[in-house]
């Protein structure tokens, strides 16, 4: 017993569907006229949007600089770069769909990465299946580089290195004070998400290597606004090192409550200090925090586009408002676009196989650091550094090669 209305509605729905599909099909090819379009699903909304926006600022800045400097030369012709963005809302399922949309519907042949390891994990299988190379700057999880992916290239150091150096530093300090590294007590508080758990894995490996003791191992919920119970525990067990990782909001929450509860731990290390702007928010109480960084404007790297790391820093501050410290998330995103330019010019072709080969042969110097990919696609030419907040400034204190200042120990 069907009916006329049903037919009509089916008709209307089919019509709407057809219009919808037609409307959402901008026929953009990878290279059109004199423009090369890179594609990226990135977090404009949702919990990663601060860093998503940092990353897109980095992409846009590099694109603008490259275009101003004459664009990308392929086959004797100069091309401009452009980026096609979608908002992945910080959710992996959406990111994977959008990656496919970029590749299939928008005809994108050259991808830039999303923000965060979770999103990159979701997108990498898609780019891999469609054999579309992706240069990513924000997915640090090492599991990305153990899956045998051939089309993912990461300019940053992998996540297990983020806070591992703080363990090495604690061991060094213990030795200097005539104690055994094995006596060092470590308290850990990591957000329960793919990135922070990867950071944790690296820290745990190094703790085992030095034979240190883990006295607290808390996983923080994702919508965390209070970690005072963890900090109360810290006060009770008096660790020598407190390690925290929870993106920007974790860093801000931790910094606030460390201040309010007057937590006195000789060494505190946490990720995302700069992105969370803890110095301007919490002032002197943040002195002595150790913050891992992929990049620092004091490093001596340079290239022909941006100049030195310091010049890049100045460029960002003059282009975008509100940056007191330039987060490394922005710098590495800019570096990823530079890798594309370099690889496309060396491939001198838009053929995917040649471009991929050129990418894997990359060996370049940028303001962000040297970039050379392993067979797995991670950058093996650039170490992580550890900065310490000293009198409201971020100074590199570890490793010795990049250190501009001595580490303050114990923190006051």
């Amino acid at each position: 017993m069907t009916n006329i209305l049903l037919n009509k509605t089916v008709g209307i729905v089919a019509g709407v569907a057809a219009i919808g599909m037609l409307a959402s099909a901008p026929a953009m090819a990878k290279v059109e006229g004199d423009t090369i379009t890179l594609g990226s699903a990135i977090s404009f909304t949702g919990k990663y949007s601060t860093n998503g926006i940092h990353a897109s600022n980095g992409y846009n800045l590099a694109v603008r600089m490259i275009n101003a400097a004459g664009g990308v030369k392929v086959g004797g012709k100069s091309y401009k770069l452009a980026v096609k963005y979608y908002d992945d809302e910080s959710t992996p399922a959406r990111g994977a769909q959008l990656a496919e949309r970029l590749i299939k519907q928008d005809g994108i042949k050259f991808m830039l990465g999303p923000y965060s390891s979770g999103l990159t994990k979701a997108i990498a299988p898609v780019t891999e299946k469609f054999k579309i190379p992706m240069v990513e700057a924000e997915g640090a999880s090492r599991s990305l580089f153990t899956q045998g992916y051939k089309y993912i290239f990461a300019v940053l150091s992998t996540s297990e290195q983020y806070l591992a150096s703080s363990i090495a530093l604690a061991a060094e300090i213990a030795k200097k004070n005539g104690k055994k590294p094995g006596d060092v007590k470590v308290a850990m508080a990591f957000e329960n998400d793919p990135f922070s758990l990867d950071v944790r894995a690296g820290v745990v490996d190094d703790i085992k290597k030095h034979g240190m003791k883990i006295v607290i191992d808390d996983k923080l919920p994702r919508d965390l606004s209070d970690m005072s119970s963890t900090l109360t525990k810290v006060r009770a067990v008096k660790p020598d090192l407190l390690v925290i990782s929870g993106h920007s909001k974790g860093a801000a929450t931790a910094a606030r409550q460390i201040k309010e509860m007057k937590i006195k731990v000789p060494l505190i290390a946490m990720t995302h200090c700069e992105a969370a702007k803890v110095i301007s928010k919490f002032g002197d109480s943040t002195n002595g925090f150790l913050c891992p960084t992929q990049w620092s404007e004091t490093m001596s790297y340079k290239d022909n586009l941006f100049g030195t790391a310091g010049e890049f820093d100045a460029k960002v501050k003059s282009t975008y408002e509100g940056y007191r410290n330039v987060p490394y998330q922005l710098a590495q995103a800019a570096a990823a676009v530079m890798v594309w330019k370099d690889a496309l010019e060396r491939a001198n072709s838009f053929d995917i196989a040649k471009v991929r080969q050129a990418l894997s042969d990359t060996d370049m110097k940028t303001f962000y650091g040297n970039i050379k990919f392993s067979a797995a696609g991670n950058n093996i030419a650039k170490p992580m550094a550890l900065r310490q907040i000293q009198k409201g400034k971020l100074n590199v204190v570890f490793p010795a090669r990049w250190a501009t200042n001595e580490v303050d120990w114990p923190r006051k």
């Binding site: 017993m1 069907t2 009916n3 006329i4 209305l5 049903l6 037919n7 509605t9 089916v10 008709g11 729905v13 089919a14 019509g15 709407v16 569907a17 057809a18 919808g20 599909m21 037609l22 959402s24 099909a25 026929a27 404009f44 909304t45 979608y86 908002d87 910080s90 959710t91 992996p92 399922a93 994977a96 769909q97 496919e100 949309r101 299939k104 519907q105 979770g118 994990k121 979701a122 299988p125 898609v126 891999e128 299946k129 469609f130 054999k131 999880s141 090492r142 599991s143 153990t146 899956q147 045998g148 957000e191 329960n192 998400d193 793919p194 758990l197 990867d198 996983k219 919920p221 994702r222």
Partner: protein, 407 residues
């Protein structure tokens, strides 16, 4: 009569040609021919409507939907994933309506079964050849490479495990929450869904908040898209057919009686708890399997946003059923289609504002447009519905039945 049959035959030929064209020219031409197919199908339907009997029309309608479903990924090769998600959305709306619309138990936590199914199949698929705890503790450092047999066999077992575990969870959870009435049921199920995500996130065996990377699909990218498209299409089709059959049984009368007045239904001798449990278990069965397929399709399973997305998928399923018109068979389907298209369009054209638009849609939907599309149509053209939509018939019949019985 003869004329119409000829023209139908003509249209069939045109459809076939368009189909062929879409295979030959996979890009813009394919899209145009896809559009032609759609237009022609509509024309065919209007004609069929004029000259065919009710039974034949129904047959043509279903044939058209099935043909469209099979042809869609070839006609629109660039939209395979989006259309696949559309089928998933239809399944979501239909399964939610089994409880919310037909029985009046408005659950906000059906997403639990989706997530349970997803994790069950992930554990089975990886556990077949690896040690799960070891796999997850290496944060994906172990690479899983399956050949076709391992993959398909693992996924088949995964689907069975997903369905069984979702049903078990439904039966157990049902014991706990079925005593709750009205808003307490909604709040209780919402709480259960949030708790499920949090607890899986704290469970190290399955990787906690770090999630699980699923085995990689052994075929090429396009093969992969098609594989999951047909898996979801098949599931949605099965769900629809199953519900169509189910709603024509005595079962529908009983659950509708529970919706209208649970105490009276109980007094009439309907074993309400059994019906509630069975209905929930059936929707869990279907949702669990869809979760298993979606987990493999995503390639990466993670508790809060992929497996138990309470405030996205979990609310979408309610919204779609309400938008189309709850308590009917076609309403949720329509709601899902309209919702999905609105969503895809806002996500493309209102970048950054899409969630505001969605929230407004919810508010307008429930505050100003509560009856849904089918309900609105019912008010607008009441004469069409005197002899029409079979679902409303069954509902009326149910109301009559319960009314008479109570007299």
């Amino acid at each position: 009569m003869r004329l119409s049959q000829n023209s139908i035959a003509l249209y069939v030929v045109v459809i076939a040609l368009g189909f062929l064209a879409s295979l030959l020219f996979p890009n813009e031409l394919a899209q145009i021919s896809g559009l032609v197919i759609v237009v022609v199908l509509i024309q065919t339907w209007i004609l069929a409507n004029k000259y065919m009997s009710v039974g034949q029309r129904a047959f043509v309608l279903y044939a058209v939907v099935i043909i469209c479903g099979i042809a869609a990924p070839f006609a629109f090769p660039n939209y395979v994933t989006q259309i696949a998600i559309l089928w998933l959305m239809i399944l979501f709306a239909l399964t939610w309506d089994m409880m919310g619309g037909q029985m009046g138990y408005n659950s906000l936590g059906n997403i639990i079964f989706f997530g349970v199914g997803m994790y069950a199949s992930a554990i089975v698929q990886i556990g077949l050849y690896y040690d799960v705890a070891q796999y997850t503790s290496h944060a994906g450092a172990v690479k899983v490479q399956y050949d076709w047999f391992q993959y398909v066999f693992g996924m088949g077992l995964g689907l069975i495990a997903a369905a069984i575990s979702a049903v078990v969870v439904a039966v157990v959870l049902g014991r706990v929450v079925f005593g709750l009435r009205g808003p307490y049921f909604a709040i209780g199920t919402l709480g259960a869904a949030i708790a499920a995500g949090e607890l899986v996130g704290a469970w190290d065996y399955v990787g906690g908040g770090g999630g699980i990377t699923m085995p990689t699909f052994p075929g090429s990218g396009d093969e992969r898209s098609l594989f999951f498209y047909f898996a979801l299409f098949g599931l949605a089709l099965f769900t629809f057919a199953f519900l169509k059959w189910l709603y024509s049984r005595r079962y529908a009368l009983a659950v509708n009686a529970i919706r209208d007045d649970e105490d009276k239904a109980e007094a009439m001798g309907i074993h309400t708890l059994r019906y509630k449990t069975v209905a929930w278990a059936m929707s869990a069965f279907l949702l669990g399997m869809s979760g298993a397929v979606f987990g493999n399709m995503s390639g990466f399973v993670e508790p809060l946003e992929v497996a138990f997305p309470t405030i996205t998928f979990g609310i979408f399923m309610v919204l779609m059923a309400l938008l189309g018109g709850k308590g009917t068979l076609w309403g949720p389907v329509l709601g899902a289609v309209v919702f999905h298209i609105i969503k895809e369009l806002t996500w493309t054209y209102f970048l950054g504002w899409q969630w505001v638009a969605l929230g407004m849609l919810i508010i307008i939907n429930v505050a100003y447009f509560q009856q849904g599309i089918l309900g609105w149509a019912q008010e607008k053209w009441p004469d069409f519905f005197g002899l029409t939509v079979d679902e409303s018939d069954t509902r009326e019949a149910a109301a009559d039945a319960s009314g008479e019985a109570s007299k």
